[in-house]
Amino acid sequence: MLSEIHTSYGYLSEKALRQIADVTGCSLVDIYGVVTFYRSFSLKPRGKHICSVCTGTACHVRNAPGITEEFERQLKIKAGQTTRDKTFTLETVNCLGTCALGPIVVVDGQYHADVSIPEVKKIINRTRRNSSSSRIKPDNRIFPVTVSCSHCNHSLMDKTLLVDDYPSIKVTASFGRKHGWLRLSSLYGSYHVESEFEVPEREVVHFFCPHCHTEMAGAVPCPDCEAPMVTLLVRDGGVVQICSRRGCKYHMLDINGAIL
């Protein structure tokens, strides 16, 4: 319970703890005891970007303390604190288990290996830049896919409206009582979406093929957020699955046949 609330809100507020006490019948002091015992629970709101420096043994002998101090200098906070503008939280972690690549820093789930002191500033700046930019830069790793409906095999590509400068993938979407078109970027790895109406964050959307009107739901739920996944066939072989929850970035391109 504590774990799920912490994951959703980023921290455990006093209000949340009091509510848990009411609902479960456990005393507030017992709940507080559990929360303060476990290091990964935070009682304070954390920043937009979370920097975790590994302080395991292998990273320690490769100067992890020096890296932590450099982060403290650059962000002007101590480990365990959040910057005043709430953009960065700095934490240390007792071993992330990537010991061969130490010293390791994880920022927003992305692992940076073999970090040197001059690199710390670059990592911070890059994180600031990436969160504000929304353009997809030309990149070897990003490429367009051509997809069709997994039921009727009709192409879903739409040249009349480009997203990210490529033909978009046009589907019909519905959630709640709203119903209309949705266009996804065909660039594998881009999350740009244009839609007839605004989809709220975390909302699960139902996707339908505009040609045969079948719902394009896969059999497997998203490993990250448990929402249903949408299955699309790729033209030259393979299957793309994307999560149907707005804001969830999980996607998988499978060229060996569908994951069952």
Binding site: S40, G66, C95, N140, D224, G237, G238, N256
Partner: protein, 616 residues
């Protein structure tokens, strides 16, 4: 996925999967465990998929994404089956060339592994020294299996051992087999697993019997459990199913630390797929046997690796250890019989039942059978996960597999067993790596962490590091552990800052022995080991810190000075790198370091290309 309703149907599915396999194609294998992803394997995978789609190669080559293979330092790497060509540290631009070569059954010589001493190029992974001397029973499976495809696991022989046992096996015979194999708990203590299972089997059903997989790998420096969980989660599921069959357990729990998000993801996928297929849940494979496994996440507490603390954590309480006896087998989760084994122990179970206990005992030494995965990290040329037969000497691991020291330094000591372990000095490097030998020299096998230290490591700093860790992770229940670890840390800190005295050293030693004797759980009882073992073999370093105010490892900041020598070419790099602006100078002129401003962060040392920065 259709649920399997009988054992016959299982074998039919397996045959179908195997016959469906396209013959004659090469497979591109990209390890993408957490290490791989941190090294850029995801980009490699992206580009590989892009090339295969754009060039319409889907019927000409297969792609397999796996977990860690073990040679983490060389990732992102690519392995090509069936030739077993190994390409280390692959660049994005090289991916299309590697794919083309693999399709034509050719190799690209300039991208192969090169022996740094002889310049020899080696094609096949098994011929590379790092791999050649290992005994890769468990890690080899990580190469063959895509962890998020249960069909792939079945294709490689997975769940067949379980099916065979459900069909014809007897629980007593399984326990006998585990006992004869001599399997000892791989979590650190090395307790005979067969004995534990035998005790568990005798317990009455009551309100349920629990099996736990302890995946709270908290030892800093150890990550072999992570690689097994990420790379082959079904091997643990099968191990636990076999364990449940043998001991009569009906519920399983995998307690995994929250710091392993990829392992958690792969486990959730594996459990779901196993349930969908009817391998977990009511009526496994259509038989009368039922067993299911749930996942419980840790939340950042090292002490929860201790079994009684783990049980408290599963029950939703703070992980404070309890007195033993009663042992978990008698009184575990909510008072019910609970059998706890480590990840690597569970992973060995299907291997033993498939190949037989006798084959298992042929590897290793009497009383220390089988293989053990170690995480070889620190100041060594080749770091990564190595699986060796028990009894191999430390020297062989360091030099034959690990490639020896880096930068012409000298390897001074190896720390094993995490914060509960100890340091092994160079003169004892011919020690065989097994539970008993390590205990004799004042260390422990522990979970398998092996941290290599050279002459630029300080043994006082190492003891201080572990004491800092332990004082934070102490649950606080026992006064002597709570206060003792804190005070020991303070004494070590004094010594490292040049404020140590001989009296303080005496106090430290005495305190270490007191904490060892007067605490409830393993954390406290072994908290003294880092101090005691470094004092045993490196007392002169401690005395040097105290009497001469000198740190020969050049680590303790208050006892060292940074200096720029005449090798300086005036390139300005260190001036830019210094966060305190302590270095001044013009281009092409000798740079000057102001010692009063220097905070000894090491930035200048890391950027200097002329070896002009020294520490004295």
């Amino acid at each position: 996925m259709k649920k399997i309703e009988s054992i016959t149907d299982f074998y039919l599915l397996r045959d179908h999967i195997i016959s469906d396999r396209p013959e004659g194609l090469s497979t591109l294998i990209i390890p993408a465990g957490t290490c791989g992803q941190a090294s850029g394997a995801n980009d490699l995978i992206r580009v590989a998929k892009k090339v295969i789609l754009e060039k319409k190669l889907i019927d000409h080559i297969r792609l397999r994404i796996t977990g860690c293979h073990g040679f983490c330092q060389m990732e992102p790497s690519i392995l090509i089956e069936p030739r077993n060509t190994f390409y280390p540290k692959v660049d994005l631009g090289q991916v299309p060339l590697i794919i083309e070569a693999a399709i034509n059954n050719e190799i690209i010589p300039q991208l192969l592994w090169t022996d740094s001493e002889t310049g020899e190029k080696i094609e096949r992974q098994q011929d590379i020294p790092f791999f050649r001397h290992q005994s890769r029973t468990l890690l080899a499976s990580n190469e063959k299996v895509d962890p998020i495809r249960i069909h792939n696991y079945i294709e490689n022989g997975g769940y067949q051992t379980l099916a065979g046992l459900l069909e014809k096996g007897k629980p007593d015979a399984v326990i006998k087999e585990i006992k004869s194999s001599g399997l000892r708990g791989r979590g650190g203590a090395g307790f005979p697993a067969g004995l534990k299972w035998e005790l568990m089997a005798k317990k009455p059903k009551g309100n349920g019997k629990f099996l736990i997989c302890n995946a709270d790998e908290g030892d800093p420096g150890a990550y072999m459990d992570r690689s097994l969980l990420e790379g082959n989660p079904h091997s643990i599921v099968e191990g636990m199913l076999i364990g449940a069959f043998a001991t009569g357990a009906d519920k399983g729990i995998i307690y995994v630390r929250s710091e392993y998000p990829l392992a958690i993801k792969h486990l959730m996928i594996a459990l779901r797929q196993a349930r969908d297929l009817g391998i977990l849940g009511q009526r496994v494979l259509g038989t009368g046997f039922s067993f299911d496994i749930s996942l419980v996440k840790g939340a950042g507490a090292f002490v929860c690796g201790e079994e009684t603390a783990l049980i408290k954590s599963v029950e939703g309480k703070p992980g404070e250890p309890e007195q033993r006896p009663p042992f978990p087998i008698d009184k575990g989760i909510n008072g019910n019989p609970t059998l706890i084994n480590n990840v690597e122990t569970w992973a060995n179970v299907p291997v033993i039942l498939a190949k037989g206990a006798k084959a298992f005992t042929r590897i290793g030494t009497p009383n220390n059978t089988g293989t053990k995965i170690f995480s070889l990290v620190g100041k060594i040329k080749y770091t990564g996960l190595v699986e060796i037969p028990m009894g191999m000497t430390l020297r062989q691991i360091l030099f034959d597999i690990g490639g020896g020291q880096i930068d012409n330094r000298e390897i001074k000591a190896v720390q094993t067993g995490g914060p509960s372990g100890g340091c092994i000095p160079e003169k004892l490097f011919d020690l065989p790596m097994d539970y008993d030998s390590l205990a004799e020299v004042g260390s422990i096998m522990g979970s398998g962490g092996m941290i290599v230290m050279d002459d630029h490591s300080c043994m006082v700093d190492v003891a201080k590091y572990f004491m800092n860790f332990l004082k934070d992770e102490s649950c606080g229940k026992c006064f002597s552990c709570r206060k003792g670890t804190q005070r020991m840390y303070e004494l070590l800190d004094d010594i490292s800052r040049g404020e140590g005295t001989v009296e303080k050293l005496k106090l430290l030693e005495e305190l270490a022995l007191v904490v060892k004797d007067t605490t409830l759980c393993g954390l406290g009882q072994t908290a003294a080991n880092p101090v005691l073992s470094t004092l045993r073999y490196f007392r002169d370093e401690y005395l040097e810190h105290i009497e001469a105010r000198k740190c020969r490892g050049k680590v303790c900041k208050d006892l060292i000075t940074y200096r720029i020598t005449e090798n300086c070419t005036g390139c300005l790099l260190c001036i830019k790198a210094c966060p305190e602006k302590a270095i001044s100078g013009k281009k092409k002129e000798l740079h000057q370091l102001d010692e009063s401003k220097c905070i000894k962060c090491g930035a200048c040392l890391s950027v200097c290309k002329d070896n002009a920065v020294i520490i004295i």
